[in-house]
């Protein structure tokens, strides 16, 4: 008879495991202590490599150990032969491989691998590429590996077409793959750029890609990754940088731009027929380092009246562009207000593609009326195709989305707010803009309101820190009645503000009124209907005046 089998009990096994772990901790402590000693002593030797390797094989995510290894290797690079260096870096590469097998998402191991490859005298990039392919066949969504692959592809100069074929394969296996779609969006414009510059790729390929996305959408409309890719495909080129508003007057000089800039490069007023630059300094309206609203302070008082035409210059991508301001009849000020452009018409070809996409979305909605990605895509498509034709439908769809996808309700509300402001700004021009009762949750396009004198935002849902208001450099009267403002913390400096109405909001803290002292012209303040204004009015008035002594009218009462 043979010996019988006996199975170890779980207790015995646990005890064994515990002992092993204790042993490991002890080893680790000893080894790490030794490394710290050596590194402090500046020892860059074999022992350092060996000990750090032992620890890294167990725990690959210790940056300092990898750093120490690189220090040692860089030192060795100076003293050993090329063959020796190659050999060492190959074993280094092998170490990262061991670590990545244990933890395929180790940032430091991936980083060390690219470092190793870049320092190798004779790197075998083809081998790396093959490894990436293998790695991605095991986990097609490991973005570390996708990143490393792009690094290898750059070094090995793999043709973009080949990589595009690879993404084809991966998408076919599993289209829920952000990394892969993203890679496609980088490769396609290289492989098949659109000669017309209208689309991201050639017309034929564009159609093909849209079909691909449509297949994904119809297979699984709840998968976001393909929808994101579709957004890229349908995305319009970013509008060009340009000047949207400009004002040159004795009290106030400013310029607003389409995109924020970090430094006022080339931004300057030019006056007279000779386009003489006006000396002065520029600062951002909100004090941030990057902004699209810039305020100008001339060094000398402005000539009165202005001598001839006034221009504003700006550097865009290294080119200087200028816009001419309109000088007022009295010659005391000059003004520029470009009509807002929230969506230029599409070329007929692109428009028909978009219409097809919209049609497909509507078909999809017949099957799944609740599919949020489909609904959101219809909104974006409708806005791109013709924002006026689809105005009502857009708003209706957004309301639907708020209901359906409650967790992202505020996202849809903000989007809705943006579109509503756009529609309003197209209709209302001049010194007064009325945005009453639009259920706004955010104030978009504030820079376009830089020249407005009266802004009415009554009956909305504004509540967040209203730092956007910094753009309202010319605003004298601002009304925010019946919103959800609960604090004035972060209230920006509004140099022209004379009258502020905040009736029926949720302000309950007197102290926060102090921020309003940044508005030097503020005389009229209305806080009726706020928790803070309850109780004895005399007492209240006194307290407010202590904070804002320059007020002349509070809560409708002259002081």
């Amino acid at each position: 008879m043979h010996g019988r089998l006996k199975v170890k009990t779980t207790k015995e096994q646990e005890e064994e495991k515990r002992q092993k772990r204790a042993q490991k901790v002890k080893q680790y402590r000893a080894a790490f202590g030794r490394i710290v000693e050596k590194r402090q002593a500046g020892e860059k030797d074999e022992e350092g490599l060996q000990i750090s390797q032992q620890i890294l094989e167990m725990i690959p995510d210790i940056h300092s150990l990898w750093n120490y290894r690189r220090e040692i290797l860089e030192h060795l690079k100076e003293v050993v032969s090329e063959d020796e260096l190659q050999r060492r870096l190959e074993s280094e590469r092998f170490l990262t491989e061991t670590c990545l097998r244990a933890n395929p998402k180790s940032y430091c191991a991936w980083h060390h691998r690219s470092w190793t490859m870049d320092h190798m005298p004779r790197p075998d990039w083809q081998r790396e590429l093959t490894l990436c392919t293998k790695f991605l066949s095991l986990d097609e969504r490991n973005f570390h590996c996708w990143d490393y692959r792009r690094f290898v592809v750059r070094r090995a100069q793999v043709p973009a077409q080949k990589e595009l074929d690879f993404t084809d394969e991966k998408i076919a296996v599993n289209f829920s793959n952000y990394s892969c779609w993203h890679y496609r969006s980088k490769l396609l414009p290289v492989v098949q750029p659109d000669p017309m510059g209208v689309r991201p790729v050639t017309e034929a390929k564009h159609k093909e890609e849209l079909e691909l996305v449509q297949n994904a959408a119809f297979t699984d409309p709840t998968d976001q990754s393909a929808w994101f890719y579709q957004r890229w495909l349908l995305g319009r080129s970013r509008p060009c940088q340009a000047i949207t508003r400009a004002l040159l007057s004795t009290g106030r000089c400013l310029a607003t731009l389409v995109h924020p800039i970090r430094a006022p490069l080339g931004l300057q007023f030019l006056i007279g027929a000779g386009r003489e630059p006006l000396a002065g300094t520029w600062r951002t309206a909100d004090g941030q380092s990057s902004s699209s609203v810039w305020v100008f302070t001339p060094t000398l008082p402005l000539p009165q009246p202005l001598p001839g035409p006034v221009y504003l210059g700006l550097d865009v991508d290294g080119h200087s562009v200028t816009a001419e301001l309109e000088v007022s009849a009295d010659g005391l000020s000059a003004l520029l207000a470009v009509a807002p452009d929230f969506g230029a018409p599409l070329s007929p070809a692109l428009s028909s593609v978009m219409l097809e996409e919209l049609d497909a979305c509507k078909q999809l909605l017949e099957f799944d009326p609740d599919s949020k990605w489909t609904l959101l895509t219809t909104v974006l498509l409708m806005q791109t195709i013709d924002r006026h034709v689809y105005e009502a439908e857009t708003m209706h769809t957004l309301d639907e989305l708020v209901e359906l996808d409650y967790q992202r309700a505020n996202y849809y509300r903000d989007l809705r707010s943006r579109l509503l402001v756009e529609y309003t700004l197209e209709r209302q021009r001049g010194d007064v803009v009325d945005l009453t009762g639009l259920s706004l949750t955010a104030l978009y396009h504030a820079p376009l309101l830089a020249l407005v004198k009266t802004l009415i935002l009554n009956d909305n849902h504004l509540r967040r820190p209203l730092s956007h208001l910094a753009a309202l450099q010319c605003c004298e009267s601002l009304s925010l009645d019946r919103n959800e403002v609960s604090s004035l913390a972060g209230w920006p400096a509004m140099p022209s503000l004379r009258s502020l109405s905040l009736r029926e909001n949720a302000l309950d803290d007197l102290e926060c009124l102090a921020t309003l002292s940044a508005c030097p012209c503020l005389q009229i303040l209305d806080l009726r209907g706020n928790p803070v204004a309850k109780g004895d009015q005399k007492e209240f008035q006194k307290k407010v005046l202590a904070i804002l002594p320059s007020l002349s009218t509070l809560n409708g009462e002259h002081i």
């Binding site: 010996g3 019988r4 089998l5 006996k6 199975v7 076919a172 297949n215 994904a216």
Partner: protein
């Protein structure tokens, strides 16, 4: 058998026959510490669940044909075994009685050597380029002339490079027999659902380490007179160009609905008494989608009840995405490996194995089986487990008469060549001439089913006449069956070969020869059958047993008609619970490092220890092969 090799006579369990259910039970009993004797009259494991190489298959066929002599060969057990008063002998039958209508045939000449065949062989070595050009020519000529959609529209085979295509009929019997060892031909080909009870059992019991699998690569169906790939996974649905985007949504939506167990009752209200077909029609699926879902995914028929169809769809979908692109696994080296894996575990835990050890009779007293007569010995056990195929006819209330029709073909290429070697599952929907669906499994060399360059096609359906009559028509849809008597080859080898060669040369000159091209193209598209075997096997899974079966005798059914192993696993578990209601059915077997050998043997020379070492040293599976792991 010599007296010195006599077995100990007392056991907890004696298992007679090494079929699937018997082997699971042997392993389960041994695993919980029962003393098990497992015997089989054959020299191989598996009985009717076995897989054979080509030579052993011939032997098996011969055995089936000689069943009369075998059964009469039984010694009179009275001669060497004594029984007491009140005890009776119950004589057992040979397994072979369950197999009928065996029909094995070659469809190729015995040897080459005929001049024209040689010419063809030489021709087949032309460069790849030339061959490709030939193919293009044929496709063009046929598509202009053929009005039917039979071969050249939409079929994926046209797009894929068909590497086997030109190695057509230059195989000879000699060529194939030279490689007879490379065949593993299954008597009971079955697939495992990736989340079926067998896979779960293999994992939970840790028996999975004795087995290796290949994932089935595609599910095909027969639609409008041609083979279609059924888009079953999300990736398939996304990638297929055969259905419109709207259909994609319909299909995905339907599949999601079937999986949405929460709202199932609401969704299927009013369909309790209707068919699955009615339900699918109510969803206004297109004809293609309806076909995919009903016949391929649910593997149903027009009369499948609605809720059964839903359950079958769920079973299919539940198993998707675990090991490959389809829900199925196929065992490497054939299904015969699976009973053996369980036997191995039984042996590791101390079970005794004796092949070529027939049980001739049972000794029965007072409704109990008190002895098993085998090789001149009387053996005793608390429980006797036996394959139903050996049970005497008085153990059945109604003897099973009809059963399963089976066919196996050796072919020269895949029914739909693909870039990588395919492993195909195909369910033929019932048709006007064949009331039952036909299950087709095609396996290739990488599963060790056959040598390189060949494929095995298995067909299974419910028997209505004989296997040949039941299956030939279906086979001819996808294969070219040159049905000639092999003796014809011996006499008129020349004629046969010439015909083949002629077809091929027609083919090369199809443009010039006009009309003949169509015929040749059809020949070319379908794989050629080189060898075929048909047989019928009794289906015993639904047999009604009579009350005369002794209480402690447990009968295990033979292979059932279903595609998977569900029935065997459930039957084994049920029988085990009858035998040992309080013990666990196949608990996880320990890994080698969890084992200590009792009785200090530091060298570790014990058999068990060695076995585990062997397991440990097994090579890691190469890519493409599946080792079951709990993900």
């Amino acid at each position: 058998m010599a007296a010195d090799s006599d077995l100990p006579t007392n056991y907890d369990v004696i298992v007679i026959g090494t079929g699937m259910t018997e082997s699971i039970l042997a392993a389960a009993a041994s695993r919980v510490g029962k003393q098990v004797l497992h015997i089989d009259s054959n020299e191989y494991y598996g009985g009717l669940w076995s897989s054979f190489n080509l030579e052993n298959l011939n032997k098996w066929v011969a055995d089936c044909e000689n069943k009369e002599t075998l059964s009469s060969d039984l010694d009179d057990p009275n001669s060497d075994v004594k029984i007491n008063n009140g005890e009776d002998f119950v004589f057992l039958r040979s397994q072979a009685t369950h197999v009928n209508n065996v029909d094995l045939k070659w469809h190729i000449p015995k040897k080459s050597g005929e001049i024209k065949v040689e010419q063809w062989s030489r021709k087949s070595q032309t460069s790849d380029e030339e061959e490709q050009i030939e193919e293009v020519e044929v496709s063009e000529s046929s598509s202009t002339k053929e009005t039917s959609t039979r071969t050249h529209t939409n079929s994926e085979s046209e797009k894929m490079p068909s590497t086997q295509c030109t190695q057509n009929s230059n195989w000879t019997q000699e060529d194939i027999m030279r490689e007879y060892r490379r065949f593993n031909i299954d008597l009971a080909p079955k697939l495992l659902f990736a989340r079926g009870s067998l896979v779960e059992l293999l994992i939970s019991s840790n028996i999975a380490r004795y087995t290796e699998f290949h994932a089935v690569t595609r599910v095909l169906t027969w639609l409008d007179g041609e083979l279609n790939v059924v888009p079953c996974s999300r990736a398939d649905v996304f990638a297929t160009r055969h259905v419109s985007v709207v259909e994609k949504r319909m299909l995905m939506k339907l599949l999601t609905t079937c999986m949405d167990t929460e709202n199932l009752i609401q969704e299927f209200q009013g369909f309790d008494t209707k068919t699955f077909l009615d339900y699918l029609k109510s969803k206004r699926l297109t004809a293609h989608l309806l076909h995919y879902v009903l016949y391929a995914i649910a593997m149903g028929t027009d009369s499948t009840p609605c809720m059964e169809g839903v359950e079958r769809t769920q079973r299919f979908l539940n198993s998707l995405g675990r090991y490959g692109n389809t829900p199925f696994l196929w065992p490497m080296y054939g299904t015969g490996e699976l009973p053996q894996a369980f036997c191995r575990l039984c042996a590791v835990f101390g079970g005794t194995y004796c092949l070529q050890h027939p049980a001739k009779a049972l000794v029965v007293a007072d409704d109990r089986c008190v002895g098993v007569v085998s090789c001149g010995q009387r053996l005793a056990a608390d429980h006797v487990v036996m394959s139903i195929s050996q049970a005497p006819s008085n153990y059945f209330d109604d003897s099973p008469v009809s059963g399963i029709s089976r066919a196996v073909f050796i072919t020269n290429k895949s029914i739909m060549p693909a870039e990588k070697e395919p492993l195909t599952f195909l369910q033929f929907p019932p048709g006007p001439n064949h009331p039952n669906p036909v299950t087709v499994i095609e396996v290739g060399p990488s599963t060790h089913a056959c040598p390189k360059g060949l494929f095995l096609v298995h067909m299974t359906c419910k028997q209505s006449k004989s296997a040949r009559e039941d299956l030939l028509e279906i086979a001819e849809h996808i294969l070219t069956v040159d049905d000639v008597n092999p003796s014809d080859y011996d006499i008129t080898t020349g004629t046969q070969s010439t015909q083949t060669v002629k077809q091929e040369s027609n083919f090369a000159h199809s443009e010039a020869r006009g009309g003949n091209g169509d015929e040749a193209a059809t020949v070319r598209t379908k794989p050629q059958v080189l060898w075929s075997m048909y047989f019928d096997c009794l289906e015993t899974s639904k047999s009604n047993l009579s009350p005369s079966v002794p209480q402690n005798l447990h009968l295990c059914s033979g292979p059932d008609l279903e595609l998977d192993f569900e029935f065997s696993v459930h039957q084994a578990e049920k029988i085990f619970k009858q035998m040992y209601p309080d013990l666990e059915f196949l608990p996880r077997a320990p890994d080698p490092e969890e084992i200590v050998i009792e009785g200090d043997s530091p060298e570790g020379n014990d058999q068990e220890a060695n076995l585990f070492e062997l397991v440990d040293q097994e090579d890691p599976p190469s890519s493409g092969q599946q080792v079951i792991e709990n993900p």
